[in-house]
C-alpha cells in the first residue's frame, strides 16, 4: 500500500447555483496510476465538480484534497499539483502556442530548460510543432484542445483533470492523447476524465464514477458495474442506471 496521499480525494462536495443544487454531496477518489472515467448525462454536475476540484468554483460544502494538499487551506500547493483541461480551453488568442506554453511554465515556476524541452516534446507528439509559432486565434477546435492538454501536462502534475478532452480531436490525436494519459498513469499520476464517449471510457478507464442530478449513483471497475452479467457493455450499464432513476 502506497504511503503517499492519493492524487485526489473528494468528500461530500456540494455546489449550488441559486436554488439549484448542481453537486449534492459527491465523494470520490482517484488513486495512483488510475484513470477514472467521470460519466453522467448532460447537466449531471460533471463540469461543476471538475471546476470545483480545479479551484475555479468555490464549493458550498465538502472537502477536496489534491495529492495531500487541502484545496481550501493550501490552495496554491493544491493547484500546483493538478493540471486541468476545461471543455473550452483558456488560451491567449494573441499569443503563439510556444509563447503561451512559456507563460504557463512561468506560472508553475518550472525551470526554463526543462520546460522548453517538455513543451517541444509534447508539441511534437501532438503534431503541433509546425504551427506552434503561429498565434492561437486561428487554431481549429482540435488544435486548441491539444494546446490546452500540453499546458496541463507541462508541469507533470500528480492529478490530471480533463473535461471532454476528445472534443474536436482527429483519430490520430485521440490515440496520442489516450497514450499520454496511460503514460501519465503509469508514472504514478491520477487522471479524472469526463466524457460522453462510453466506448472510450470502457477502453481507457480503470474505473468509472457515474453521476446523476449531482449525486454519485454508481462507481467501480467495469467488472464491478457489470455485476453478474459479464456480457453487458458500459452503455448497457449506463442506460440501466438511467432507467432506475
Amino acid at each position: 500500500m502506497s504511503l503517499t496521499p492519493p492524487p485526489l480525494r473528494v468528500e461530500g462536495l456540494v455546489r449550488r447555483y441559486g436554488a439549484l443544487e448542481a453537486v449534492a454531496g459527491v465523494s470520490l477518489a482517484v488513486g495512483h496510476g488510475e484513470i477514472v472515467g467521470f460519466l453522467g448525462a448532460n447537466g449531471a454536475g460533471k463540469t461543476t465538480t471538475l471546476r470545483c476540484i480545479a479551484g475555479l468554483l468555490s464549493p458550498h460544502a465538502g472537502h477536496i484534497e489534491v495529492a495531500g494538499a487541502d484545496l481550501a487551506r493550501e490552495p496554491r500547493v493544491a493547484k500546483a499539483r493538478l493540471g486541468f483541461v476545461p471543455d473550452r480551453p483558456y488560451l491567449y488568442d494573441r499569443l503563439s502556442a510556444r509563447e503561451f506554453l512559456a507563460f504557463v511554465a512561468a506560472l508553475y515556476d518550472l525551470p526554463a530548460e526543462a520546460a522548453e524541452r517538455r513543451a517541444e516534446s509534447l508539441l511534437e507528439r501532438l503534431e503541433l510543432a509546425a504551427d506552434a509559432s503561429r498565434t492561437l486565434e486561428g487554431y481549429s477546435l482540435g488544435m486548441r484542445q491539444k494546446t490546452a492538454v500540453i499546458a496541463a501536462l507541462l508541469h507533470s502534475p500528480p492529478l490530471l483533470l480533463l473535461d471532454e478532452p476528445l472534443n474536436g480531436l482527429d483519430p490520430v490525436s485521440t490515440r496520442t492523447l489516450k497514450d499520454l494519459l496511460r503514460e501519465h498513469a503509469a508514472a504514478g499520476g491520477g487522471v479524472l476524465v469526463s466524457t460522453h464517449l462510453l466506448d472510450v471510457a470502457e477502453r481507457l478507464c480503470d474505473r468509472v464514477v457515474i453521476l446523476r442530478a449531482g449525486r454519485v449513483i454508481a462507481q467501480g471497475t467495469l467488472a464491478e458495474l457489470r455485476g453478474t452479467h459479464a456480457d453487458r457493455s458500459l452503455e448497457d450499464v449506463f442506460l440501466e442506471l438511467g432507467r432506475d432513476g
Binding site: R51, P75, Y90, R94, L107
Partner: protein, 516 residues
C-alpha cells in the same frame, strides 16, 4: 420562414434583456442612458435655437445648423453602422444556425440588420430627433409624414451605406480581424465629433454677443448631401418638397441596393469563413527568468497584437490630456496651472482607458488567475506592474511635453510630475478595481470591455478622483508644491490606492469561472 414566429422570438429576447425574473436586467441601463442623452440634447438644442432666434438669426440659418447637425450625425452613423453590420451580420453567434436552416441570404441579412436596431437607433433618437424637436420648438414642427420619412432615412441610409461598404471590406479581410479596427474607427469618429463640439461650443459661448454674426457666418452644409436635403425638408419653405422627394428616393434606392448586392455577396463572404487567421510570431518563446518578466513579456505581446485596443487607449490618453486646452478661451490660466490640469486630466484616461481594461483584456484566460498556483492577489500585482510601466512611459512623455510647451522651470516640472503621479496612482487603482468587478470576458468592441454600468462607474470614479486633485491644484495655482507636501501627497495617494487594489485582489480571488 415564419416571420411572425421570428418576430415573437426577437421580442422575447429583447424583453428579457430589459426585464426578466421580476427585476430589471443589464439591458435597461443603455436604454436609460439614451433617454437621458436625448433629454439633455433636446434641452441644450432648444436653448441654442432659442438664443439664435432671440438674437435675430433668420430661419434659413437655423436650417443650415440643422443640416450640419444631420451631416455630422450621418457621417458618424455610417462608420458606426459599418461596425454594427460586421458585428451583427457576419460574426453573430447564431449565424451558423441560420445558415443551416432553409433561410435565404436576403432573409438572414434582414434578420441580422434588424438585430442591429439597439445599436443603430440610439444616435437617431438621441441626436437627430432632439435636433428636430428643438428646431420645431422654435420654428414650428414639420408634418408627421415628413418627420417620419426624415428620421427613417437618417437611420436607414447610414445602415444601407454601412452594409454596402462592409461587404467589399469583408472580401479583403476576415470579419474577426475587421471588427475591432472598425469599432476603433467608429469611436474615433465619435471622438472627433466630440472634440469639434468641445472646442466650438466654449468659443460660441465666449462670443455670445456675436452669436448672430457667428451663425450667419456659418457656411451652408454641402448641397449634395442627403443630410442637407433632410434638413431642408424639415425646415419647410421653397424647395422643401423636392428635398423630401430626393431624400426619400435616395433612401429607398440605398435600401434596395444594399439588400440586392449585400445579400448576394453575404454567402460568398461567409463561405470564406469569418474566423481570425493565425499570425506568425517572431518573439522568443523561451521561459522568462522571473514571473514578473513573463507577465511583462506577455503584456507587451498582447498590447502589440491587440493594436485596436492599444490605439484606442492612446487616442483616449491624448484627448483627455488636451481637454483642458478647450477651456483656455473662457478662463485664461497660469502656465503651471494649465500644465497641472493637463496631466491630471490625463489620469482620467489612465484609470478609465488603461487600467480598467487591463484585466478584461485577458478575456477567459483570466481563469488562470484562479487555476494556477500564482493566486489572485499576486496576479493583480503583476498586472498592475504591466500597466504601471506603460503609465510611467505615458506620464513621463506627458510631463516632458507640457514642460517644454509651457517652458516650465525645474521646480514647475517637479510640481507637474508630482500631480501627474498622485492622480495616476489613485485613478489607476480605481480603474483596476472597475476592471476586476465589471470586466466582460466576451467583449468585441474595445470600448466595451466593461459592462455598461461598469463603464459608467469607472468613468465617474476616474473623473471624481481627478476632480479632487484639480481642486487641490487650484488652491495654489501658480506656486510649485513644496517638497514635504509633495511627499505627503505621494504617501496619501499610495495609501488611498491600496484600498481599491485590495478590493480588486479580493474580487479576482473570488471571481468564479463556471464556463459558458
Amino acid at each position: 420562414m415564419n416571420h411572425a414566429a421570428i418576430a415573437r422570438t426577437g421580442w422575447t429576447l429583447a424583453h428579457r434583456s430589459l426585464w426578466s425574473g421580476g427585476r430589471p436586467r443589464g439591458g435597461v441601463l443603455p436604454v436609460l442612458l439614451v433617454l437621458l442623452l436625448a433629454a439633455a440634447s433636446t434641452l441644450a438644442l432648444v436653448v441654442m435655437f432659442g438664443s439664435a432666434a432671440a438674437a435675430g438669426v433668420p430661419p434659413a440659418v437655423h436650417a443650415n445648423l440643422l443640416g450640419w447637425a444631420f451631416t455630422l450625425a450621418m457621417l458618424m452613423l455610417v462608420i458606426g453602422d459599418l461596425h454594427a453590420v460586421v458585428s451583427a451580420a457576419v460574426t453573430a453567434p447564431d449565424l451558423d444556425l441560420l445558415r443551416a436552416a432553409p433561410v435565404s441570404p436576403r432573409d438572414i441579412l434582414g434578420l441580422k440588420l434588424a438585430a442591429t436596431l439597439p445599436r443603430t437607433l440610439p444616435p437617431v433618437l438621441a441626436i437627430a430627433l432632439p435636433a428636430v424637436l428643438a428646431f420645431g420648438y422654435v420654428n414650428g414642427l414639420p408634418s408627421l409624414p415628413v418627420l417620419l420619412v426624415a428620421l427613417f432615412g437618417l437611420w436607414a441610409l447610414p445602415l444601407a451605406a454601412g452594409t454596402l461598404l462592409a461587404i467589399p471590406l469583408l472580401r479583403l479581410a476576415p470579419a474577426a480581424h475587421l471588427r475591432e479596427p472598425l469599432a476603433l474607427l467608429a469611436t474615433l469618429a465619435f471622438i472627433a465629433g466630440w472634440v469639434a463640439n468641445t472646442f466650438w461650443v466654449p468659443r460660441l459661448a465666449r462670443d455670445t454677443l456675436d452669436l448672430a454674426a457667428a451663425l450667419r457666418a456659418l457656411p451652408a452644409p454641402p448641397e449634395g448631401s442627403p443630410a442637407t436635403w433632410a434638413a431642408h425638408a424639415i425646415a419647410g419653405g421653397r424647395g422643401a418638397a423636392s428635398a423630401l422627394a430626393g431624400f426619400a428616393g435616395l433612401t429607398l434606392a440605398a435600401v434596395v441596393a444594399a439588400t440586392a448586392v449585400a445579400s448576394g455577396l453575404l454567402e460568398v463572404v461567409l463561405s470564406r469563413g469569418t474566423g481570425a487567421l493565425s499570425r506568425l510570431t517572431h518573439s522568443s518563446a523561451r521561459r522568462a527568468p522571473t514571473l514578473a518578466m513573463a507577465f511583462l513579456r506577455r503584456d507587451a505581446a498582447l498590447a502589440a497584437r491587440d493594436w485596436p485596443v492599444t490605439l484606442d487607449a492612446l487616442a483616449g490618453l491624448a484627448l483627455w490630456t488636451l481637454l483642458p486646452l478647450a477651456i483656455l478661451p473662457l478662463a485664461p490660466l497660469a502656465p503651471l496651472s494649465i500644465a497641472r490640469d493637463m496631466v491630471i486630466a490625463l489620469s482620467v484616461s489612465l484609470g478609465h482607458d488603461l487600467a480598467a481594461r487591463a484585466l478584461p483584456l485577458e478575456r477567459d484566460s483570466l481563469a488562470w488567475a484562479r487555476l494556477s498556483p500564482v493566486g489572485g492577489a499576486a496576479w493583480l500585482r503583476l498586472r498592475a506592474l504591466g500597466v504601471g510601466m506603460a503609465a510611467l512611459g505615458v506620464v513621463s512623455t506627458a510631463v516632458l511635453v507640457v514642460a517644454l510647451a509651457f517652458r516650465l522651470p525645474l521646480a514647475g516640472v517637479a510640481d507637474v510630475a508630482v500631480y501627474a503621479c498622485v492622480a495616476a496612482i489613485t485613478t489607476m487603482a480605481a480603474g483596476l478595481l472597475s476592471g476586476a468587478a465589471f470586466g466582460e470576458s466576451a467583449w468585441t468592441d474595445p470600448r466595451a470591455m466593461l459592462a455598461p454600468g461598469g463603464r459608467l462607474v469607472s468613468a465617474v470614479v476616474s473623473v471624481a478622483l481627478a476632480g479632487a486633485w484639480l481642486t487641490l491644484a487650484h488652491r495654489h495655482p501658480s506656486t510649485p508644491v513644496p517638497p514635504l507636501t509633495a511627499l505627503g501627497m505621494l504617501a496619501g495617494a499610495v495609501a488611498f490606492a491600496s484600498i481599491p487594489l485590495a478590493f480588486a485582489a479580493r474580487a479576482l480571488e473570488r471571481r468564479e469561472h463556471a464556463g459558458r
